[in-house]
């Protein structure tokens, strides 16, 4: 089912939770709504489910308007953040619920319901748990029961609210991959809400980055990571070094050394505009000798060699601020750095944004 969100605004009291949000999701896509707490992503998801009503704007499901369609008529599967499993029902009864409450004329026979429950529990690998109560399951198992329950009514659209939020890191990673595979098998349109950028980038076909009720950027994981549309997106998706610098008129004396190919993501303005430059730790390189007059001189403070890459924290020579650099092991060995040594910092890639004066 394709989804069209058309200029949706939602207020809670004086607080604008969604500010004129528009969005299109194609059939079969898995889209992540990504943003910090309070950015409105959960509210948007609940509006899509029909659990909330927008103050303004319209929702189209499969090309027809559904803004005022009731939640029961939307055929959505909703997986709640804390699963909302029915605590007095067994796993099997939970999964069967959506089928047993159907009107008698549509309801499958008890045998058919049982069969369907078995299929779903096999799908989520919980066949052995059918007779257990939710309180007897681990977090990851509850998550999968919630998913099976939502899938039981064969929804056209699957909505997941922070599906892995309450799980520990390892289970989270496993379930993430599992969800991706499941989605590839079922080809159901899916939208998941998350505040974890890693999760969004790994699972989703496309990522919608939201901030304070606005959509900051919509794009594939590659697009939003490599070409962030705003400082917020750049900062939210992974670690980044921030340089505040003043643009100067002559290009041969810029705030930071020019990139090898002279590429700038955002246009650098005139002398009166301040600009902000973002460089990811792995886009910085170090040299023992000054190669360029504009290179930043810094002192090595800490070297963390654990992990696949080496993280180095520097202190800029003419300020007390720290810069984080990530090098490959090979490059680190090549440089043979010690703590306290002087190095020269050089960005391979950067994102430059103008700060507009108000």
């Amino acid at each position: 089912m394709s989804i069209q969100v058309d200029h949706v605004t939602k207020r809670f009291g004086a607080f604008v939770v969604l500010n004129d949000v528009s969005l299109h999701v194609q059939e079969g896509e898995l889209v992540a709504l990504l943003g910090p707490s309070g950015c409105g992503k959960t509210t948007l998801l609940r509006i899509l489910a029909g659990l909330e009503k927008p103050d303004r704007g319209r929702i189209f499901l499969h090309g027809t308007e559904a803004t005022n369609r009731r939640v029961t008529e939307r055929r959505v599967g909703f997986v709640f953040q804390h699963y909302a499993l029915f605590r007095h029902m067994t796993v099997a009864e939970n999964v069967a619920f959506g089928l047993t409450v159907q009107p008698r004329s549509l309801r499958p026979s008890p045998a058919r319901i049982q069969e369907r429950v078995r299929e779903l529990l096999t799908l989520v690998q919980l066949q052995a748990m059918a007779g257990r109560y939710p309180s007897q399951l681990s977090g990851g198992q509850r998550q999968r029961v919630a998913l099976a329950r939502a899938l039981a009514v064969e929804p056209k659209l699957l909505l997941l609210d922070e599906p892995f939020g309450a799980l520990d890191a390892k289970v989270r990673k496993e379930l993430r991959r599992w969800l991706r595979r499941l989605h590839d098998e079922l080809h159901i349109t899916g939208i998941l809400v998350t505040h974890d950028q890693e999760e969004a980038l790994e699972v989703a076909d496309r990522v919608v980055v939201m901030h304070q009720g606005n959509v900051e950027q919509i794009g594939t994981p590659d697009e939003v990571y490599e070409h962030p549309a705003s400082p917020f997106v750049c900062q939210f998706l992974g670690d980044v070094n921030v340089f505040h610098g003043r643009a100067v008129q002559e290009r041969n004396f810029p705030a930071l050394p020019p990139l090898p190919d002279g590429e700038l993501v955002a246009p650098v303005g005139t002398v009166d505009e301040r600009e902000i430059t973002f460089v990811r730790p792995h886009d910085l390189d170090l040299n023992r000798n000054r190669m360029n007059p504009a290179q930043v001189e810094a002192i090595v403070r800490y070297v963390l060699t654990a992990g696949s890459r080496v993280r180095i924290e520097l202190i800029a020579q003419n300020s007390t601020q720290a810069i984080e650099v990530e090098l490959t092991k090979e490059r680190y060995r090549e440089l043979n750095l010690r703590e306290g040594e002087v190095v020269f910092v050089h960005p391979r890639r950067r994102q430059v944004f103008k700060i507009l004066r108000s």
Binding site: T72, L85, Q136
Partner: protein
Amino acid sequence: MKSLSITSTKDLLWKDSLTTESPLIRRLLIGTALLYLTFFLFIPLAAVFAEALKDGIVAYVESLLNEDALASIRLTLLVAAVAVPLNALFGVAAAWAIAKFDFVGKQILITLIDMPLAVSPVISGLIYVLLFGLQGWFGPWLADHDIKIMFALPGIVLATIFVTVPFVARELIPLMQSQGREEEEAAITLGASGWQMFVHITLPNIKWSLLYGVILCNARAMGEFGAVSVVSGHIRGLTNTMPLHVEILYNEYNAVSAFAVASLLTLLAVVTLAVKAIVERKTHFPTIVADPMSEVQTGSIR
């Protein structure tokens, strides 16, 4: 077996804790508590039955089979049969609105529900006398139409309802608030109708607290004395509930009969407390089970 007496892990901690008192002080405190409870709980409880059975079991049974006693029992059951279901219905409705929705004036509504608890029982009766008594607002009109509310069954029922309004609602509101609305929302997204949601999700989740609320409401309804005393008129065999009958017998120096009827009410109180203990065990068992160890524990509590 091993964990039946354990209601939570906290209980375990205190026993093993290093931060506790010396055995002497511990015994002293337990002794003081038990002594106080002996004077104010155990002796009175035992005295009810001892006084009732003072003249033997035959006298006890005869006291209960007395015509006026039976009439008072019938009346009490009738009053409770009207008041308790109405208050249960009210309690569920009020708790649903308060716990699952946000609306202006919610706090005022909660205060209103609690109000009968703050009012002296005598005043609870008095307000109905002022409404329906001969000198009351509706008194003359009721007299003209030959409708008796005061000193008759309707007055007793009204006063009883007033006194027991809060009990079911007070049990349900905190529970339903803590349960949140996600389970109900999940049921709706899965296609359940409002009634199906209520029967399959809400009711099973609140059934134990609802049961205790109803039992408590019932105990208070059957045992209400002050308010009913004001509106009843004390007509033997007609408008005497069990507590009023106890009073009359006692004032007639018929202590054995008075305590015989009182012993029934005491049994009701004891059953109410037993139900409460069971409900607390049912509703407090651990819900979050992350490690396999506690999984075993839950299994044995069930």
